[in-house]
């Protein structure tokens, strides 16, 4: 079920109302049933795959807790391997197959790999990582094994964060299913406000920008460098609004019911370094890689060479987590190498750059990396980089080419383009206010009529400025 669908607009108030109407001891059943329904709205029988991984990690968690020594380790390995196996089959099999085939063809080996034709279960990477997080934490002794299968299932399947996170840690979420959440209207109001701004970011900003981005990135050869540059700029705003909008809706809807999910975004485009960017962008994933990959590799308590290797490797792996395509690996490598590079510069060059230069440098790196993230393949990505770079030095703007992506959607292409640019300005204003004061705090402090005017404008914008094409959340594909 998509958050931005009519089904969810019925589902959410019904589930929330029932949640508070039911006695505490039955609430888990409601949430589990609602989560199954939410997941099954995509491809119903894929829930069996989800329950398979839940079953494996549930028993693994108990066995890990009950065992000691190498046996304990073996249970962890079995759990990790079998959970990852599902991910590998569905997400990475074709990638490895195609690459092996390419190598075989290159060396003229008579070898053919049969590729699978299967649809990736929605949110697979997210709930796999959440499951892994559980068994690792049980292994480390930071979390007790969960003996109630339903509660453990709920930990993996809790519908607000089931398909695109935040990827929760068991220490933060599991105990909340045992707590009794009271009807607190202040909390409900805060949760609804978060959801409102999440919907605004997704349905008004991200979806409108997606119309332009999808068209340009779908037919890159048709467009000039300036158009490609503009589409990439729009994509950098789109992906942020899309994913942080999703996170706001997830965190807000959980908050309404009394659950506290971890923050996932903190104004990443205001960062002064790539390191800071990753403390502000997709926090639940970056901390996951920090805790379960980077630190086990030795973190920064190793030789300089190994430290940089650890950084670059972790980021490349993070890229690969996003998608089974070289474009994502390059995206991760750009971030890893930039982080390693900036650490080196800080070490050897003692110049205090102004915050503007730092911020712009981060934006440039992130901006270039988005080209690889969004492009369909490496050839197209390099083509976009090349054409965009050349266009920076060319001043002959071809307005018709810039408007061309919009011809299929509207007859008022010029006005729509101005509208898209205005949306990026609206987001910039929201980000600056949020960064300096905290958006909701600032709004809550303002006069009631201003506060309500903002809410009314946000609701009316969602109702009138959304797009009518179905645009799924970008991170649903992961």
């Amino acid at each position: 079920m998509l958050f931005n669908s009519f089904s969810f607009f019925v589902f959410f108030p019904v589930v929330t109302s029932l949640y508070f109407l039911l006695p505490h001891k039955y609430r888990w059943a409601l949430l589990l049933g609602a989560s199954c329904l939410f997941y099954m709205a995509f491809i119903p029988y894929y829930i069996l795959i989800l329950f398979l991984t839940i079953g494996i990690d549930y028993f693994a968690g108990i066995k890990i807790e009950q065992s000691t020594g190498s046996r304990k380790k073996w249970y962890l390995i079995i759990s990790i391997v079998s959970t990852c196996l599902v991910l590998i089959i569905f997400k990475y099999y074709n990638f490895f197959g195609a690459n092996i085939q390419a190598i075989a063809d290159f060396f003229h080996w008579n070898y053919s790999v049969k590729l699978l034709s299967i649809i990736l279960p929605i949110g697979l990477s997210f709930h796999t990582f959440q499951s892994l997080s559980y068994v690792i934490e049980v292994y480390r002794g930071n979390q007790k094994a969960e003996y109630n299968f339903s509660i453990y299932s709920l930990y993996v399947m809790f519908y607000p964060q089931l398909v695109a996170g935040p990827i929760e840690r068991p220490q933060n979420l599991l105990h909340q299913f045992y707590e009794k959440h009271l009807l607190d209207f202040n909390r409900i109001s805060e949760g609804l406000k978060m959801m409102l701004f999440g919907f605004f970011k997704k349905m008004v900003i991200a979806d409108n920008l997606a119309m332009y981005v999808n068209e340009v990135y779908g037919k890159v050869n048709l467009y000039d460098g300036h158009t490609l540059l503009l589409a990439t700029f729009f994509f950098s705003i789109q992906i942020y609004c899309d994913f942080s909008g999703y996170s706001d809706i997830a965190i807000g809807s959980a908050k309404v019911m009394g659950f506290k999910l971890m923050d996932n975004f903190k104004n990443p485009y205001m960062s002064l370094s790539i390191g800071e960017f990753w403390k502000r962008w997709h926090i639940s994933l970056s901390t996951w890689f920090r805790d379960y990959v980077y630190i086990p590799l030795g973190g920064n308590r190793v030789s300089t060479f190994r430290l940089y290797f650890n950084l670059v490797f972790t980021f490349a792996l993070s890229g690969f987590w996003h998608g089974a395509n070289w474009t994502f690996i390059i995206w991760g490598l750009i971030h890893g190498l930039s982080l390693a590079g900036s650490n080196l510069i800080e070490k050897f060059v003692k110049i205090n750059f102004s915050t503007y230069i730092k911020r712009i440098s981060v934006l440039v790196v992130v901006f270039v990396s988005w080209i690889f993230f969004r492009a369909n393949n490496l050839n197209e990505a390099f083509y976009i980089v090349k054409k965009s770079f050349i266009s920076i030095f060319a001043f002959n703007l071809n307005i018709n080419n810039i408007l061309l992506p919009l011809y299929n959607y509207t007859s008022r292409t010029g006005i729509y383009l101005v509208f898209l640019i205005c949306l990026t300005l609206v987001l910039s204003a929201i980000e600056v206010v949020d960064y300096k004061y905290g958006l909701l705090k600032r709004i809550n402090k303002s006069r009631p009529w201003i506060r309500y005017a903002i809410y009314v404008i946000a609701v009316l914008s969602i109702m009138n400025l959304g797009v009518t094409q179905e645009i799924k959340f970008i991170y649903f594909q992961f």
Binding site: N4, S5, F6, F9, L183, F185, I188, S189, M203, K219, N408, Y452, Y455, V456, V459, L460, I462, M463, N464, G466, V467, T468, Q469, E470
Partner: protein
């Protein structure tokens, strides 16, 4: 608790009120439906379900009046209201006919021009020309619902894109019974930027050479709308829009005449079967009456519109009182 619910109810009320005001004054739902309402309110005698041909004028035209304005100049005996959409679509016309049949102020006559080209995948399946918004508003019977149309469409409660761009591009294109490609070839081909004899020929094939059959969704809608008109006692006249047959014949050959004639006859037979008069004007106009010789078009210049107005007056208006 009560305070929260009072605030929530007040908030919802303000949002609904502002939404209605916003749509009513600043974001008109559909100019065509607004016009239709106006004509019904003012009890117009004739309503013309037009397409772009009715309104189009050439840059070189001195008189830029629409076909309907020209008819009015020739014959001012009747009040004629023009509800023209950018393309012919019998689906939206069906919804309009149903809407009119529910009105107290039904017009005496409805005139429906049918463009042969509108049956081609080029127009029939183009996502931009599905008019789902108008169909929703016309067929809706829940008060205030049209004011929330955009929101419903955003949430996919109303599907305004029954045909996606991808589906459109994958639609097969036929020359007679043979499939010669898909829409994608004709729409995304840089080749067609050049005006050559071969390109014009292919564009004519793309626009006109598919046989129209009883299963065509536009034929189904046409039959439905004629049935509604018959049931509600509204007199309907249908005519086949003139096309540049001389150009078509020159570029495609005799096949062009055979296919377009078969298609026009097929449509007229469907219309006549429903006890409605049909005038085939498809082959009545010389190339000089059309606006763009460099590509297939049914858009008429000033002289073409004048001639069409005269024909409509003679064939239809002069018959109304008989």
């Amino acid at each position: 608790m009560n305070n929260f619910f009072y605030k929530l109810i007040a908030f919802v009320f303000v949002v609904v009120l502002l939404q209605v005001v916003l749509v009513y004054y600043f974001l008109p739902l559909s100019p065509q439906i607004k016009l239709l309402d106006e004509y019904l309110q003012k009890k117009y005698q004739i309503i013309y379900f037009g397409d772009s041909i009715i309104q189009f004028s050439d840059e070189k035209d001195i008189d830029r009046s629409s076909v309907v304005d020209m008819i009015n100049k020739i014959n001012s005996q009747y009040s004629i209201g023009d509800v023209s959409f950018p393309a012919y679509d019998s689906g939206v016309y069906e919804a309009m006919m149903d809407y009119i049949s529910r009105s107290k102020n039904r017009p005496q006559v409805i005139i429906i021009p049918i463009g042969l080209r509108s049956f081609s995948p080029e127009w029939d399946r183009r996502p931009f020309y599905q008019f789902e918004k108008e169909k929703f508003i016309l067929s809706n019977r829940i008060p205030l619902a049209p004011y929330f149309f955009k929101f419903f469409a955003t949430l996919r409660l109303v599907d305004v894109n029954p045909i996606s761009q991808q589906q459109f591009l994958e639609t097969p294109v036929y020359y007679g019974d043979d499939q010669i490609g898909t829409v994608s070839y004709f729409e995304n081909n840089e080749r067609f930027a050049n005006i050559t004899k071969e390109n014009i020929r292919d564009k004519y094939i793309y626009s006109y050479m598919a046989p129209i059959t009883i299963n065509h969704r536009k034929i189904e809608s046409l039959e439905n709308l004629l049935s509604i008109a018959n049931k509600s006692g509204i007199k309907v006249y249908v005519y086949i829009t003139p096309l540049d047959y001389k150009n078509g014949k020159e570029f495609v050959g005799s096949d062009f005449m055979n296919q377009t004639k078969a298609n026009a006859d097929f449509i007229c037979n469907v219309v006549i079967k429903n006890n409605v008069e049909c005038f085939n004007l498809a082959f009545d106009f010389d190339s000089k009456y059309f606006s763009h010789p460099e590509y297939p078009s049914e858009h008429l210049n000033q002289h073409g519109r004048g001639l069409l107005a005269e024909k409509i007056n003679k064939l239809i208006l002069n018959k109304i009182d008989d």
